[in-house]
Symmetry: C2
Subunit: 151 residues, 2 copies
């Protein structure tokens, strides 16, 4: 070791919402990955299973759009869930171009375990920033997502 030279200062970055948002999101996603490793579910797979359960029989494109995933990229994701027997694509009767998405029994069971793990993450966040801080954070993030319709 030659020298330590002291800490690196980040300047205005400490007060930049975009920078802090990125860093916090990385930390929370790493925590998610640890908790979901045993379930072998990524955030995208987890949110897909949940969206299917909340909207059974809806078309693949609608679910993808609601989650902010491009349709082409959603194909491999569904391939994976289907191969593992967690979700199923059923050819729609009304529109034979479309796939109606359903959860299998195994998918519903895994989702229950995933929701428990997610609840534990939320509890850890509550322990870190308090329940009031958590509720305010959720409300603020929801409002922030409407930034797109601005100057």
């Amino acid at each position: 070791m030659t020298e330590a030279e002291g800490e690196i200062r980040l300047g205005l970055l400490d007060g930049a919402v975009g920078y802090l948002l990125r860093r916090a999101q990385l930390v929370v996603f790493e925590d998610f990955a640890r908790r979901f490793a045993a379930l072998d579910l990524t955030p995208a797979q987890f949110s897909t299973l949940l969206a299917i359960r909340e909207n059974p029989g809806r078309r693949q494109s609608d679910i993808a759009a609601a989650l902010g995933v491009q349709r082409p990229n959603f194909v491999a994701l569904m391939d994976n869930l289907e191969r593992r027997g967690l979700a199923a694509r059923v050819r729609s009767g009304e529109d034979r171009r479309a796939n109606a998405l359903e959860l299998t029994k195994g998918g519903a069971a895994l989702l229950d375990r995933a929701l428990a793990a997610q609840g534990e993450q939320e509890a850890a966040i509550r322990a870190a920033i308090g329940e009031t801080g958590r509720r305010e954070l959720i409300a603020t993030l929801a409002r922030l997502s409407q930034l797109s319709n601005q100057t």
Copy 2:
């Protein structure tokens, strides 16, 4: 158009900090990209220029680590800044393995313009969630980043 079938419900995702964090971060980064398009700076490039200005002469690895960038990935980033004449790598006299990073005059000038653009983004965020909300958000995100040292 066959049918609309109504909105997709996201279920508990509306109250999941991780999910909202990801969506908000995407929105804020898209806004950033619009504001910084004329300057041709990515978030990583902007934060690098700022970190160099705040810590002139520090080694490349230290700056990369402080920004959470892997050393190998920082090489191409610096190549770009150097090629554009915004920053310079100076062989350190103390340790001839190391690069001391400096901002050029052009880099300092571009950074000034970038900081103005960043200030405008912060103002837009203030308009969306209020100054109180913004200060609370910054404090909460900073505390959230310490989630790693938990159960």
